[in-house]
């Protein structure tokens, strides 16, 4: 570049040209739109999901391309930060370049204009007055001042120029708006803590992977002045001084300069059942001051020594559950067995030869669901406490269960409800265990035991066989044995596979010709067996002297029997040899808190204030300039008035007319009078 020495030519140095480019409007608009498009990508593609999800969604080819483009964390990607930086630089350059002239423009009344340039203006007017030039100029100046203009006279050789301006602060609007962008970006940058990202990158700090057991000391961050946004989950009665910062591939542990104890977590509901409030009673302790007891809730965080503590979520804190374990597939002993466990606890249960792992997943105090028995599908009802667990077999397979503590009413009868599913993606299938006349499971369990007791089943089959054959007068020994076997087999089949396997047996083993007649016969034999097994147990045990009352009770027992048979029939799909009845609980909750430290926040807020003030100044305080040149003529004075606005010209059309009219009236136009 040879013309370095001559800055006045149209050729500039590389630096100057770069400066020009950075401050150019084209670049600014391009960057604004680029940022908008990048943001669109970031919202359309869900951010920061597990990588495996993306791999499944896009396939290996696109997965790699998207990954290298940083599309899974757009707002943290280097190219996104580069656009932002460039925007800040561009805005700064623009500001540096324009501010001096803007400030000058804010104050300068422009006293050097010529009548030629006034005549060239779009808005202008001329008239003549009788008063002399000096008086006219003074009247014009005073009138303009009254209208809120800053006005000034400049006496030239043969004329007087009155310059006036209103809305000079409009220029300040430009400065504030653009300064605000820079300030906000700087504040945001401070709060995104780039130093931490750098430390992770250079491995000064190590992200803890939850798959590894030991935590490296490099995963802890000392309490300090840096920005962070971290979360804590603290059970009632516990306290903690370390918060978790979620990072790609794991987390970091942020030490706090104080400890937080959770005294109590509360959740309140509206009458309709929707949640109304979540709040936590906290005690904050640090070395230097008295413990602080306070309550936070959603939308009402605690501000403490530059840190902010928010209510963000809640979960179970290890509630204590007392269970009654009822066997579902044995004839043994007198149930149930009492068992105590906690939410999140895994325990082993040996049951006969089977070893089962019981993993308690969660406990819910309320279950507010649409009531299936209500006509209005929107009506919600509280179904009471429930807990979820998994039962894991030796083989590693597990089924997930959800059991309700309180019986559920259906068609006027009550049932214990237990849902089962094999994967999270499926809906629950439900088992309904009927509640007996004593309000518990004893009678059902008794029935079940009798069904599993070979001796009882054989005895009853024998009696029934004898009675049946006596009826038809049969003496055939072979038939005797085959009938006895059939009867016991039907019961066994039913106990193992319910009506479904009995039906399948009829479908697959009976000859086609006999299906029509034998099928229903088998089913009625089975029913008779079941009721005899049951009758020998408890049915019609509760008679009274009053025949009407008696009939009612018998009806109830009959229904109970049918429910019990249905329940047994569906047990084969239930997949568990046990039923876990929740008999008591002690609810322990954990409060989910978020702790943040944002030293950049006041800076960002300052920027926001600038932005708002600036934008309103820019739009609603147009800068308007008026000039009047008064010049003596033969009989009096000629006035030449012109005006302009820095907004679009139309904006001043009417305004100019009206100001001109007032000035004319004030000075007294000699021609119109």
């Amino acid at each position: 570049m040879s013309d370095d020495s001559n800055p006045n030519t149209r050729h500039h140095t590389l630096g100057q040209r770069l400066f020009q480019f950075l401050g150019s409007m084209d670049l600014a608009i391009t960057l604004l739109l680029a940022l908008a498009i990048a943001s669109i990508i970031g919202t359309v593609l869900q951010q920061n999901q597990p990588y495996a999800d993306y791999l499944i969604k896009f396939g290996p080819f696109w997965f790699d391309i998207f990954e290298s483009a940083g599309l899974y964390d757009v707002y943290g990607a280097s190219w996104f930060l580069a656009i932002l930086t460039l925007l800040v630089v561009s805005t700064s350059v623009c500001l540096i370049r324009n501010t001096p002239s803007m400030i000058k423009d804010m104050r300068n009344l422009r006293t050097h204009v010529q009548s030629k340039s006034l005549r060239a203006m779009h808005h202008q007017k001329q008239w003549s007055v009788d008063a002399d030039a000096g008086n006219s100029a003074t009247i014009l100046e005073a009138t303009l001042s009254n209208l809120g203009f800053r006005a000034k006279q400049t006496v030239k050789s043969d004329e007087i120029l009155v310059s006036a301006m209103r809305g000079g602060m409009n220029r300040l609007g430009y400065i504030l708006t653009h300064l605000a962008i820079i300030i906000i970006c700087i504040g945001g940058l401070i709060d995104s803590n780039p130093a931490l990202k750098l430390a992770v990158w250079t491995e000064k700090v190590k992200v803890h992977d939850f798959a590894t057991k030991t935590i490296s000391p490099k995963s802890y961050l000392a309490a300090g002045t840096k920005a962070f946004r971290a979360s804590m989950i603290i059970a009632e009665g516990r306290s903690s001084g370390t918060a978790l910062i979620a990072m790609k591939g794991g987390a970091l542990f942020q030490r706090l300069p104080f400890s937080i104890e959770v005294k109590d977590f509360r959740m309140e509901h509206y009458k309709t059942g929707q949640p109304k409030s979540y709040e936590t009673d906290l005690v904050i302790r640090d070395d230097s001051s008295e413990p602080l007891e306070t309550t936070i809730s959603v939308n009402h965080p605690l501000f403490y020594k530059g840190y902010t503590i928010y209510q963000s979520s809640f979960e179970d804190g290890g509630s204590v559950l007392t269970l009654n374990i009822w066997p579902l597939n044995s004839s043994a002993g007198s149930p149930p067995v009492e068992f105590e466990t906690n939410v999140f606890k895994n325990s082993d249960i040996s049951w006969g030869e089977q070893n089962l792992g019981l993993e308690v997943l969660s406990f819910r105090l309320f279950n507010i669901n649409p009531d299936p028995t209500d006509d209005d599908p929107n009506r919600q009802r509280n179904f009471g406490p429930s807990f979820d667990y998994k039962l894991r077999k030796d083989t590693g397979e597990a089924l997930e269960y959800t059991n309700y503590m309180l019986p559920i009413k259906r068609n006027g009868r009550e049932y214990y409800l237990s849902g089962v599913r094999s994967s999270v993606a499926e809906p629950f299938g439900y088992l309904y265990l009927p509640v007996d006349i004593d309000g518990g499971l004893t009678h059902f369990s008794h029935f079940l035991q009798r069904l599993h007791d070979e001796n009882i089943v054989n005895d009853i089959a024998h009696t029934m066989m004898t009675e049946t054959l006596a009826e038809i007068n049969n003496q055939d020994k072979k038939l005797e044995q085959s009938l006895q076997e059939t009867l016991t087999m039907l019961v066994t089949m039913f106990v193992e596979g319910g009506f479904a396997s009995v039906g399948e047996f009829i479908e697959t083993t009976l000859p086609e010709a006999e299906k029509e007649t034998l099928g229903p016969a088998y089913l009625s034999m089975l029913r008779e067996m079941l009721s005899r097994i049951y009758l020998g147990g408890t049915l019609y045990k509760y008679g009274t002297d009053d025949p009407e009352e008696n009939a009612k009770i018998q009806q109830a027992e009959l229904l109970f029997f049918q429910d019990a048979v249905d329940a047994v029939s569906s047990l084969s799909q239930y997949g568990s040899p046990l039923f876990l009845e929740l008999s008591d609980y002690e609810h322990v909750e954990a409060s989910g808190l978020q702790v943040t430290h944002s030293p950049g926040q006041p800076i960002v807020y300052l920027g926001c204030a600038f932005l708002i003030i600036g934008v309103f100044l820019l739009f609603y305080l147009p800068q308007r300039r008026f000039w009047a040149i008064v010049k003596a003529n033969n009989s009096g004075t000629d006035v030449l008035l012109a005006g302009m606005s820095n907004r679009n010209p139309r904006e001043i059309d009417l305004f100019f007319e009206q100001v001109a009219e007032q000035l004319e009236t004030a000075t007294g136009n000699s021609e119109t009078r």
Binding site: A36, R229, Q274, K276, S277, P301, I612, N648, E651
Partner: protein, 386 residues
């Protein structure tokens, strides 16, 4: 005609007498409220009352339509509240409530009137009948009145359900649709009076009608009109100012886009047939151009305010003033888009068809931020779900 102050010259048609009585009325209303409720108002509410009084004085001082609107809305709302007493059940039995001013009936009236107004404006435009266009204006005013009365009454109804359920009706999609219709119509009426042109009414009312039709479908399809209590995340005073500020933005962007449509139609017709109807009845290009700029500038200012209020709220509710949540991000996208539009116009001096097209596209961007995010993307703003 003598004019005493430049302040009134541009916008003013009201006499000083009218202006001062209006300001006096607003001051009186504010003072009455503050005295009556001094024991229950917190400083935030005192601030709102004062700002509202100042705002309304300002809006009404030279705009007689607004003054009448305000008085009628207030009277009808108080009438409905008085009729209700403490018994929400009267909505089904009292004649006035059932057929006129229970919130649900008022919204039905609003919807019908907006649809009628659209037809009237277009009929006036095509028949070149300024009377019919005036009918359009009157219908729009009535619709806006019913909509606002409905919102006021709904506010009261929510408290009648139960004091802890009570809240300002800007908390779900159903309520904000009405807010959108009302605010957009009011903004349009302001420009209509200021620019003395009714030929754009049909275009603007078209988008309001679209919103109303969507709203009706939504109401009957999903039972969305029922008043629901607020989830904890929405129980914040920020909501009351954040949401309306946003809708001033949405409303003006919608107006700008519809003027853009009119602009493009006129320019298209001028090319093929300069004697055509649209080419002659629609306002000058420069007027429409100016209106588009005015609307977008106003919207941009309020949208800036709303986004900042949102950030302040987020800082209090979510633990950070900015989380790149989809709704937040889309607000930024809308904002950047109009910032670019304004730069193009201010400093590159673009105007004409490209800017009109851009204003129309801007509406789609805005629409996505308003509805699309709730429909297609998940995030922290999940309460407005369809």
């Amino acid at each position: 005609m003598t004019i005493n102050s430049v302040n009134t010259m541009y916008t003013g048609t009201s006499t000083p007498m009218a202006r001062w009585s209006w300001r006096g009325l607003m001051a009186l209303a504010a003072v009455t409220l503050l005295v009556l409720y001094s024991s229950v108002f917190d400083s935030y509410e005192i601030g709102i009352v004062i700002l509202a009084a100042v705002g309304f004085s300002f809006l009404g001082q030279n705009w007689s339509g607004f003054r009448q609107h305000f008085v009628v809305v207030t009277a009808l709302s108080f009438f409905a509240i008085w009729l209700y007493g403490q018994d929400l059940g009267l909505a089904e039995s009292n004649f006035f409530l059932k057929y006129l001013i229970s919130s649900q009936s008022a919204f039905m009236w609003m919807s019908a009137l907006f649809v009628m107004a659209t037809f009237a404006y277009f009929a006036g435009l095509f028949m070149r009948s300024s009377f019919t266009e005036k009918v359009g204006s009157a219908l729009t005013w009535s619709a806006t009145t019913m909509g606002l009365v409905g919102l006021m009454v709904r506010w009261r109804e929510s408290y009648l359900i139960s004091p802890d359920v009570g809240h300002i009706p800007v908390s779900n999609l159903y309520e904000v649709f009405i807010l959108f219709a009302v605010i957009t119509a009011l903004l349009y009426l302001y420009y209509e009076r200021r620019y003395q042109t009714r030929s754009l009414g049909g275009f603007v009312l078209l988008i309001i009608t679209a919103a109303v039709v969507f709203q009706l479908w939504y109401t009957f399809g999903k039972g969305a009109h029922e008043i629901q209590p607020l989830v904890p995340a929405l129980q914040s005073y920020w909501m009351k100012i954040h949401v309306p500020a946003n809708f001033v933005g949405y409303g003006t962007f919608a107006i700008a886009a519809m003027i853009g449509v009119a602009y493009l139609l006129k320019s298209w017709q001028q090319n093929i047939n300069p004697q055509g109807l649209l080419a002659n009845v629609l306002p000058d290009f420069s007027v429409m151009d100016d209106l588009m700029y005015k609307a977008i500038a106003l919207g941009f200012a309020f949208f800036t305010l709303a986004t900042i209020l949102g950030a302040l709220w987020a800082a209090e509710a979510w633990g950070g003033y900015w989380s790149w949540d989809p709704k937040e991000t889309w607000a930024l996208i809308v904002w950047l888009n109009y910032a670019a539009w304004l730069h193009m116009r201010m400093s590159k001096g673009w105007n004409g068809n490209p800017m009109a097209w851009w204003a129309v596209i801007g509406l789609f961007v805005t629409l996505f931020a308003f509805l699309g995010v709730n429909m297609f993307l998940s995030g922290l703003h999940s309460y407005g779900e369809l």
